[in-house]
């Protein structure tokens, strides 16, 4: 099954496999990885698929090297990806920062399992959401997508590659062991129906090209390797030439820019799905698998006459600050269920700014929120109005 070089049609496909197929459809032709449950199926699939497409799969000695490898591969012009779970992402953290600093497009998939440390290898959590945002040292902008099913493992992996190329940075796909290991119908559209954003190359002549010079969009253009362009890049703070420039001035321009470029384009990046939010008294903010498992409780609350809506964060980062802030002025409160002990709820609280109630519904992982827990939280906020 799934043996054609380019798939099309309907498949009963596992989330991890769909992620790999999405990568292949997006044009990914290099995967550097190190196996870890529950992300190994992505590596396994890429190891099988990429050689059929003249791409390359390399299993490295560890996660650190595999992260470095996708940065190197991306510099050569090849769309690149790695996949891991929490313990592996911790090891990759240093080189994720390097990718952010050098502005290297690539995709990092985190199939989250319970933590901290080795935690729950074969079970799930959503407890690396803040790690995605702040996991490497220093300040940088972050883009993270949260698929809720195998279809979105396919679709959002493509979006992740598009964002990586468009905004020139590593982009996270933040899934979890339920969605990664879940099998559902996945529709793979014909190749010409998939929107692909490719790398933007400079139109300047080699003598005029500066690797880190930017225009209004704050995103530098690439030069093609082998076309005679002078090129330098480093993890040190650098100037427009890409040479180390360890001054306050360079920090104010370059280091600030890699945060500002995401903020500037946030409205184009942010993907939200709202159901019944307009006119609601209570809004449940959820992402990934949790945005599904809370639905029965929301439906029951509606049957009981409570006006409750669901806001699903398809992108967790950048956070939809403006939207949450506006809603906070209109509703009684937010309920934030997540399979961690309270992470994205901090963002909701920050944006709500005391305008309404914010109730965290934590879960440590290995299980999911009970129907009654979600329902009573919705009722509590609705009745406190």
């Amino acid at each position: 099954m799934f043996k054609k070089s380019k798939l099309r049609g309907e498949f009963f496909m596992q989330g991890d496999i769909a992620c790999a197929e999405g990568a292949v459809s997006a044009g990914c032709r290099f995967f550097g990885g190190y196996p870890i449950t529950p992300a190994s199926e992505i590596a396994e699939r890429m190891a099988y698929r990429l050689p059929l497409l003249n791409g390359a799969f390399v299993q490295f000695e560890d996660e650190i090297a595999s992260m470095a490898s996708i940065l190197g591969a991306s510099w050569t012009g090849v769309k690149s990806m790695t996949a891991s779970s929490g313990p592996g992402i911790s090891l990759k953290a240093e080189n994720i920062g390097l990718g952010m600093m050098m502005e290297v497009p690539c995709v990092i998939v985190n199939v989250q399992r319970g933590g901290p440390s080795t935690g729950l290898p074969t079970s799930w959590a959503q407890a690396d959401m803040m790690q995605a945002r702040w996991g490497s040292h220093g300040d940088y902008g972050c883009i993270a997508l949260c698929p809720k099913n195998p279809q979105e493992m396919f679709d959002l992996t493509i979006v992740a590659f598009n964002y990586a190329e468009r905004y020139r940075m590593p982009v996270f796909v933040m899934t979890d062991a339920i969605v990664g290991h879940m099998t559902e119908k996945v529709v793979v559209p014909p190749v010409d129906e998939i929107e692909i954003i490719d790398r933007r190359y400079t139109d300047k002549k080699p003598d005029d090209y500066l690797p880190y010079a930017v225009g209004d969009d704050l995103i530098p253009d690439f030069a093609k390797v082998g076309d005679g362009y002078r090129f330098h890049s480093t993890g040190l703070t650098h100037d427009e030439r890409g040479y180390p420039d360890m001054t306050e001035h360079a920090q104010l321009t370059h280091a600030v820019r890699i945060v500002e470029k995401v903020k500037k384009h946030a409205d184009d990046i942010i993907l939200l799905e709202e159901k019944g939010v307009e006119g609601a008294d209570v809004v449940v903010v959820a992402y990934g698998i949790t945005a599904r498992t809370v639905v029965p409780a929301i439906e029951m609350a509606r049957k009981k006459g409570i006006k409750v809506g669901l806001m699903r964060l398809i992108t967790a980062w950048p956070f939809p600050t403006k939207r949450i802030r506006k809603l906070a002025g209109e509703i009684a409160g937010f309920v934030v269920p997540e399979i961690n002990l309270g992470q994205m709820v901090y963002e909701v609280e920050r944006c709500a700014g005391g305008q309404c109630k914010v109730k965290s519904l934590p879960h440590p992982g290995g299980g999911i929120h009970k129907f009654e827990t979600v329902l009573s939280a919705i009722e509590e906020i609705a009745h406190a109005k």
């Binding site: 009963f12 074969t122 339920i178 290991h181 099998t183 559902e184 119908k185 599904r292 498992t293 639905v295």
Partner: protein, 181 residues
């Protein structure tokens, strides 16, 4: 149709995960329903307790995990012991009565036995016991159509074992037919 929640339990190596995959694929790709399959397993490749679950629905499946099952297929004593308590009242239990010997009270639900492993051994390969069970359960529990199930079984097994698996599925289904009537 309301959600149909199916739990399949046994030990690693029996094809417990494949069985759920077949049920889910048959229901979602060929019967045009929505199906969501999940699995649970230990670190062992073979011999450890293993279970898989499928939720089949006419509408989108919101809640993919199976806490309470409508149908339980038990292919080991351990799998039976672990999950029979969460089979709903009036649900259907299909179990291999050579592998599950110590039985609890079955008055709450509908219990149907088949010596799936023995039938598979008669066919020459113990490994097709899960397919015998799937044929049996298709007849007994009706979570997916006969045609969709058979087509998926034939697609999912290696080409040289297609005949064997087809026979295994038919034997299970017909055994179900005899028990039914």
């Amino acid at each position: 149709m309301e959600n149909k929640r199916i739990k399949i339990s046994g030990f690693g190596g029996q094809g417990i995960i494949l069985s759920a995959h077949i049920v889910g694929q048959a229901a979602s790709i060929y019967d045009g329903k929505n199906a969501s399959m999940t699995q649970a397993y230990g670190p062992e490749a073979r011999g450890g307790a293993c279970s898989s679950q499928v939720v089949i629905s006419d509408t989108e499946v919101d809640y993919p995990l199976v806490d309470t099952s409508d149908v339980l297929l038990a292919l080991s004593q351990e799998g039976y012991d672990k999950f029979v308590g969460s089979l709903r009242d009036g649900g259907i239990l299909c179990y291999d009565n050579d592998l599950v010997g110590v039985l609890q009270d079955h008055s709450r639900f509908d219990a149907r036995a088949i010596p799936a492993t023995r039938i598979a051994e008669e066919l020459g390969k113990k490994i097709v016991a899960n397919i015998v069970m799937l044929g049996f359960a298709t007849r007994q529990a009706g979570f997916a159509s006969y045609d969709a199930m058979k087509r998926t079984v034939l697609e999912r097994v290696p080409p040289k074992f297609r005949d064997l698996n087809e026979t295994a599925f038919e034997r299970g289904y017909n055994y179900g037919e005899e028990v039914q009537t």
